[in-house]
């Protein structure tokens, strides 16, 4: 570890030395190429936030670049505002523009979002050509833009521009690396890997998608400012769909979400055509072919991100447990629970109540007038044949669907129609029938998703690495490790979730749900795909949890041994309605339940 660290530092030092020395061994032509390399690296990194980190298909990113360049050009030529002051202003305007145009479309998925961003890119370009209010100079653009200067030191030569852009880039890279390894960066990655699982883990999808667009656009705006001051002219032909596609290719060539990858991609895009200048007419032909080949042989990019997370010094087990134990066990409650054990009818406190809950899909009534009560500190099971509407109940309770009518109360509070991330932050965590993990992230990162809504660091504190942010990160990692340990995945913290076998994936999902210290844990067929031994372990695990934590459990299950073995209360559903409920043994003998499963006896 240490040796590797030293070596990477050495390589970094050499790269920096090379960049410092480069202009003194080169000519102006190549210094300018290196300048544009820097600008495209900025642009690539800005798109990487949106496309790479968050997985939003943005094929109109040149629009934000254009906003930055034109704001700089207009304010500098009309009002003489110095270029350097316009850097933050360009970023701000591009960010605000991104917020306004992406707000109404941010809910669109995949290809639809991609198409809309193409539309936005084209609208911006066409608007610039049409010269609104005489501001943009039409097809010819704006000329006579000034140079940046710091006091008397003007950035006016190729060499100075070269250092200017690469120093800005270095600062940006530092900020982005820190952002990537923070709560914000992880939230973006969760969205990219599985939006619904992210939302159910408490991540405000809309907020973090918008944040990624706004930050990406702001950075593109900075690149626009630098570009405008170098060329001293801006015109609409720079900001075409082709430009947006090139940025897209930069990120994809480098590797999604990889900072060095985006820089490498930018290098390829800018340097490749220069090397092939001798075959000027064919160079883009080769380039197109090279893109195809790159995707055939390196679909993950040339320099994909290695996921690793710095594990803080290992503490003794008890110490960790003390620090990260989510909710102290309330002994009085435990004894109270034990005293009513077996007396299902004497539930005094209900953690979850649904009142006449109804859900329809088109003409199909999936759930009808369901009254469901989940006792505090109890395990409640929903059983029923396939298609009975069990998972739909879960989806309505957790906010994935909005019910047609009826109410959901959690701890006495009406939560009907709450968004999933809101429901999650109130203390409901769930697992899914078909496992929904974040496949490309490590196990520890998967578990940390559950901690997201209990953390508070944001963009500024993450970039500045404030003390509270560092402490919070440490706490999050330790808590995640605690839950990995608890679910028997201790040795796998750095393994990617997708590489885990099925049973371990189920455990990981459980660890993620538990890490959020839920008050109500909702499990959708926890034992499916597990063998008898594993199912038994799961039963013991769940029962122990109930003793250790202030927790209630609602589960859907087909394994009757499990249901009858651990449930305090069982609800049977068929065709969207509740057909029976009661203590396990009563349900086991209930004629309507038997009929629902086996059909009517002739």
């Amino acid at each position: 570890m240490n040796k590797r660290h030293k070596r990477s530092q050495l390589i970094l030092g050499m790269v920096i030395a090379l960049f410092l020395a480069f202009p003194f061994f080169s000519n102006f032509y190549w210094i300018d190429v290196a300048f544009f390399f820097g600008v495209y690296a900025l642009l690539g990194l800005s798109l990487n936030i949106v496309l790479g980190e968050t997985g939003l298909f943005d094929l109109g990113h040149a629009a934000f670049y254009a906003i930055g360049a034109y704001i700089t050009a207009i304010l500098n030529t009309l009002y003489g505002i110095p270029i350097v002051w316009l850097i933050p202003l360009s970023a701000l305007c591009a960010g605000i523009f991104a917020y306004i145009v992406t707000s109404p479309i941010i809910h669109l998925r995949g290809d639809y979002l991609c198409i809309v961003t193409i539309g936005i890119g084209e609208i911006v370009r066409l608007a610039l050509i049409n010269n609104p209010f005489g501001l943009t100079g039409g097809p010819n653009g704006i000329t006579g833009i000034g140079r940046p200067s710091f006091g008397l030191f003007a950035i006016d030569t190729s060499i100075r521009f070269y250092f200017y852009v690469w120093i800005i880039l270095a600062i940006v890279i530092l900020g982005l690396v820190r952002l990537q390894r923070s709560r914000i960066g992880r939230a973006w990655n969760y969205l990219r890997e599985d939006e619904i699982a992210a939302e159910m883990s408490g991540i405000d999808v809309r907020h973090f998608k918008l944040l990624s667009f706004v930050l990406g656009a702001a950075l593109a705006g900075v690149a626009g400012n630098i570009y405008a001051s170098k060329l001293m002219i801006v015109s609409p032909d720079t900001f075409t769909f082709m430009e947006s596609s090139m940025l897209f290719c930069i990120v994809m060539l480098g590797g999604l979400g990889s900072i060095p990858g985006s820089i490498l991609g930018a290098g390829i895009i800018t340097v490749f055509p220069e090397i092939f200048r001798v075959v000027a007419n064919y160079r883009m032909l080769f380039f197109g072919g090279a893109l195809v080949l790159a995707m055939i042989f390196r679909p993950g990019g040339l320099w994909p991100r290695k996921r690793e997370i710095a594990i803080p010094n290992v503490r003794s087990a008890e110490e960790t447990e003390e620090r990260v134990r989510p909710v102290a066990v309330d002994q009085t409650r435990t004894t109270a629970r034990q005293s009513v054990n077996g007396e299902a009818s004497s539930f005094e406190k209900h953690i979850l109540v649904t009142d006449m809950l109804t859900m329809k899909f088109g003409g199909l009534i999936a759930v009808k007038d369901l009254d469901l009560v989940v006792g505090h500190g109890k395990i409640t099971s929903i059983i029923g044949p396939n298609g009975a509407g069990k998972t739909t109940v879960f989806n309505v309770v957790t906010g994935i669907y909005k019910p047609v009518s009826g109410k959901v109360y959690f701890e006495g509070k009406d939560i009907t129609g709450f968004k999933p991330h809101k429901v999650a932050s109130l203390g409901i965590a769930r697992t899914f029938q078909n496992i929904r993990l974040f496949p490309g992230l490590t196990c520890v990162e998967n578990v940390m998703a559950g901690l997201h809504h209990r953390m508070s660091s944001y963009v500024f504190s993450s970039i500045m690495r404030t003390e509270s942010q560092i402490l919070e990160e440490k706490w999050a990692i330790e808590t995640a490790m605690y839950w990995l340990d608890k679910t028997g995945l201790a040795g796998l913290s750095d393994e990617l979730a997708k590489n885990l076998p099925y049973g371990k994936q189920k455990l990981l999902e459980l660890a993620r749900a538990l890490s959020s210290s839920p008050k109500l844990l909702i499990l959708d067929e926890p034992s499916s795909g597990l063998n008898d031994k594993e199912t038994e372990d799961l039963m013991i695990f769940l029962e122990n949890l109930l003793d250790e934590m202030d927790l209630s459990i609602l589960l859907i299950e087909h394994d009757m041994n499990l249901v009858m073995g651990i449930s305090h209360w069982v609800v049977a559903m068929d065709m969207g309605i509740k057909i029976a409920e009661g203590r396990p043994q009563d349900i086991y003998n209930n004629s309507r339940v038997i009929e629902a499963y086996l059909g009517r006896e002739e």
């Binding site: 298909f57 639809y112 198409i115 539309g119 609208i123 290719c249 994809m252 380039f287 679909p299």
Partner: protein
Amino acid sequence: MSIILEQLLNGLTIGSFYALIALGYSMVYGVMKLINFAHGDLFALGSYLGYTLLVWSAGAVSQRFGLWGGMAAALLFAFFAVGCVGVLMERVAYRPVQKSGRLPLVVSALGVSIFLENLIMAVWGPRYQAYPASVVPTYTISLGWFHITSMQLFILILSFVLMLILYYVVQKTTFGAAIRATALDKEMATMLGIDVGKITLFIFFLGPALGGMAGVMNGMYYRQISFVMGWNYGLKAFTATILGGIGNIPAAMLGGLLLGLVEMFGAAYISSAWKDVFTFLILILILIFRPTGLIGEKVAEKV
């Protein structure tokens, strides 16, 4: 009245180009869930191939078969040649990337698009080329105040016939049902014994082939062709695809015709400089309020 009718005709003519190109987008999206960014360039390629057949043979084709015969030859040539290029494109650039997910596929499509565009430029040069008047029939048919050029009439009839045939094949035949099944659920279709490979081959032949044919028609209609035209038409046709509802073949036809009309009337009665802005605004509004297009059906995501 006659002006409105003329706009209507112009709109429908452009709309049929969009519709023919849109079909290719929609079909490919159906089987591969890929926005084939190279499709517009295939359209441009068709335009150039038709041009080559008519012009480089020094008018020999037109002299031997007559004007209409020459045109038919150019259309057929573009149809088959571009269809083959489409199949080749799928084999070389898409199939090997498909398993890696959708993003690499998008980049591959962009790569093919850049490749084709620059191939056209390398072969035919960067300047505009013109279909000469001598190879294109140019009568005008007049019925009182109503005028229509023979070319317009031909384009409208041919594209409607093509669309009707395609509509029939896709909606009424077993093979069409297999195509629709593949578009809905490829895995399930495979398990039901549908030869998805064959369907993919067919789609990647027919989609580009129709686009190539539209390219020739477009060249004959406007007479001027350029290597960058693919992108513009591609984008418009693609908008049309979304307008109708992507992945749905009749929807693509409807979307194309509708977009042609919107554009023509937008340019005539609102502003010709801002007409493309309107087109894209419509696109965005449709995606916000009816993301499945005008006649697409909503698909609920399974949780």
